[in-house]
């Protein structure tokens, strides 16, 4: 692992920070209140090449790699984690298509996804213990002219706003979750409807809803990767999600600790700034340390990805690390700010609500431990 960011990576991160301060800081409070999808901001992010950051130039991408990608995600999250969430989920669909798509699929979908002309979404959750085995499982049945999909995907981010969905369906009822197959589905597909928006604790503005499939007919060319290759596709894409979401968590933690540090310098109790109290310093120091260590882990996993090396275990470790520490970051920083920190006119309550979402929304909770343990026990 290179110890330092390259000049280019650092510049991309700094630009993203500048962009976020200028364009996201002013809207973040309203976004949190209304939960309305920030279409203007998404457009501006696309203009910055954030929607196709790691894609090769031949598909209209910035070809900046995954280290740059996580730098951007962290910096966007410092200002507005919900906006970053939209980019992250979009990027998972982009990743899956560029990794498993045929030449024709790449040509059809990637350029418009990269330019932000279209928005992507990645849908794996179902209302059952695992995809493919619950009562509303999304089932794909092979017909002469292609596939017919019936069932429901739940907690789909970007649902209702995305143009291109990468969805996992069970193509063999007897095999259940082992027979997942990925499909590329257009938002305009007949029989596809989006459920009521789900109200979330945080990350408001990043849409979350169910996708309902009723006899959705897909051509054979909608299959992404090989039939029943879904489990591998899910595992790898979730590993990318783990890195990106970890970058969101760290961005939020960093924003929170910087805010709490500034607050502790200005808050005077017992005749001195509370920043001089050891107990406060410990809360700040622990949070800053957790952010730093996680950031190193994220960059390392992203660099493995950039180098085309196996990265899933390292990605899972970052997720595992933050699953233990993410809530502590915000609980401790709110604690530094006490009654002020608990009040909604201060930013930490929003970050408190946002940070939980960054470790919950895309991946099943047992994903990191399973991945890491499997590698150890192999």
């Amino acid at each position: 692992m290179s110890i330092y960011l390259t000049e280019e990576q650092e510049l991309i991160g700094k630009n993203a920070q500048g962009f976020a301060k200028e364009n996201l800081d002013p809207i973040v409070v309203e976004l949190d209140h209304t939960g309305n999808y920030p279409a203007d901001v998404v457009k501006k992010m696309a203009e910055q090449d954030f929607m196709g950051l790691f894609l090769p130039a031949e598909f209209g991408g910035a070809e900046a790699g995954y280290v740059s990608f996580v730098e951007v995600i962290e910096n966007l999250s410092r200002s507005c984690p919900a906006a970053a969430s939209i980019v992250v989920n979009h990027s998972l669909a982009v990743y899956a298509i560029q990794r498993w798509g045929t030449a024709a699929q790449k040509k059809e979908y990637l350029p418009s996804l990269a330019s932000g002309k279209t928005l992507g979404a990645f849908a794996i959750f179902e209302n059952g213990p695992t995809p493919g085995v619950g009562p509303d499982a999304l089932m794909a049945v092979k017909k002469a002219e292609g596939w017919v999909l019936n069932g429901t995907k739940t907690y789909v981010r970007n649902a209702g706003k995305a143009d291109v969905y990468v969805v996992l369906a069970c193509s063999d009822p007897a095999a259940g979750a082992k027979a997942l197959t990925a499909f590329i589905v257009s938002s305009k597909a007949a029989g596809l409807t989006v459920g009521e928006p789900k109200e979330t604790m945080g990350l408001k503005g990043c849409p979350v809803a169910d996708l309902n499939f009723e006899n959705v007919m897909l051509a054979e060319t909608a299959v992404l990767g090989a039939v029943t290759e879904g489990p591998e596709l899910v595992a790898e894409t979730l590993a990318v999600a783990a890195i990106a979401e970890a970058a969101q968590t760290v961005g939020i933690g960093q924003a929170a600790v910087e805010h709490a540090a500034a607050y502790s310098k200005s808050r005077v109790q017992f005749g001195r700034p509370i920043a001089t109290l050891q107990a406060i310093q410990t809360l700040l120091a622990e949070t800053a340390t957790d952010c730093h260590m996680a950031r190193l882990g994220i960059r390392y996993a992203a660099e493995l990805l950039d180098n085309g090396e196996p990265f899933q275990v390292e990605a899972a470790m970052v997720k595992q690390f933050l699953a233990r520490l993410h809530s502590k970051m915000l609980l401790d920083t709110v604690q530094v700010e006490g009654g002020f920190g608990y009040s909604e006119f201060m930013p930490l309550p929003r970050l408190f609500r946002d940070i939980a979402g960054t470790t919950l929304l895309d991946a099943p909770a047992d994903f990191p431990d399973k991945t890491i343990a499997a590698a150890l026990l192999a």
Binding site: F125, P129, T154, Y155, K198, E199, T200, M201, G202, V208, V268, Q269, F270, G271, I274, A279, I280, A323, S327, L331, V334, Q335, G338, G339, G341, Y342, S343, E344, F345, P349, F352, R353, A356, G357, T359, L360, L361, P364, A365, D366, D369
Partner: protein, 384 residues
Amino acid sequence: MSILTAEQKQIQQTTREFVAKHIIPFAAQYDKSGEFHPYLLDAARESKIFAMAVPKEYGGLNYSALTQAVVLEEWGYGCGGMGTTLAASVLSMDSVLVAGNDEQKKRYFAPMVRGEIGSFGLTEPGAGSDAGSAKTTAVKTGDEYVINGTKCWITNGGYSEVFVIYALTDPTKGVKGLSAFIVEKGRPGFTIGTVDHKLGIRSSNTVELLFKDVHIPASNLLGKEGEGMKTAMKTLDLARPAIAALALGIAQRALDECVKHLQKRFPDPKVQPGQTLQFKLADMRIEIEAAREMLHYTMSLRDASVPFSVESAIAKTFCGDLAMKVTSEAVQLMGSYGYTSGISKLMRDAKIMQIYEGTNQIQRLVISRAVLASAPAAAQKAGK
């Protein structure tokens, strides 16, 4: 540690029924709107529950400290915000219990017996943990005091009939110039400022109190001038376990919701949650049990008139930290379901349990001072 009596179990059962009928069904709605549940006081009136801590001779229910903890746990279980309404009202009258004379008790407790609520006003924008740097003043003129200043984050403020307000009768003396007063609603110059929106306990009313030349009779002074800090500290000793009880209720609720969720998530007896989840539930149950026993022990000390100040701080800290831990684990356990459902409210509500009525850092100061104070004595003993 005492085991609940038949009467306490009966009260617990009645409270559970009240909470199931009047609190749980409304909790989500008022959490969302951030408004006080106006029907709550009417619903509670007949039971006189807001007078649970009022002694019998003043017409109250005269519940023991332990019984109060049982009731507050159930209210916290239903809604941390509405539980806060009850706990804060009891907190306000604790000051009158501590320092009031018979006439003041009669006056202050009468509204509680009628089912009205009260507020405790100590915190100021510049005086949170450091209650001693309060700036609100009470100047004696003839047989009146004139109060000027601002109190913030005052629970129930917009709905209370009576208030206990801390103000400096002698600003030159700092903490030693602090005094406690009864202030009734509607006194000219006494108004409500900002209504606060909060991360959690959103169904409780939290406001700023503004005092501009507010005249009150000298007979509203609780105890003597300059005794305010002492009264406040004694009041908080009494009141802290109430927060522990609310926190405990929130933690128990989180555990119960996890169990409900898992039963739904794993309907097939052949596919059951793995050991990670099983152990998590067991850990939650273990810690909740320990917390409840600790709280009941603390309350038993108080009921037996044994000093319990340190135990009170320990119970508040342990239960508050536990509620935070259990609720955030519950959200994590339920994943996206937790993040998009009412469960996240438990996590938001739990956070304040570590902050109000003395942050858990302040509790740790109280506890560590007691630990250090007793250490040399113990060493001396060992030396002999």
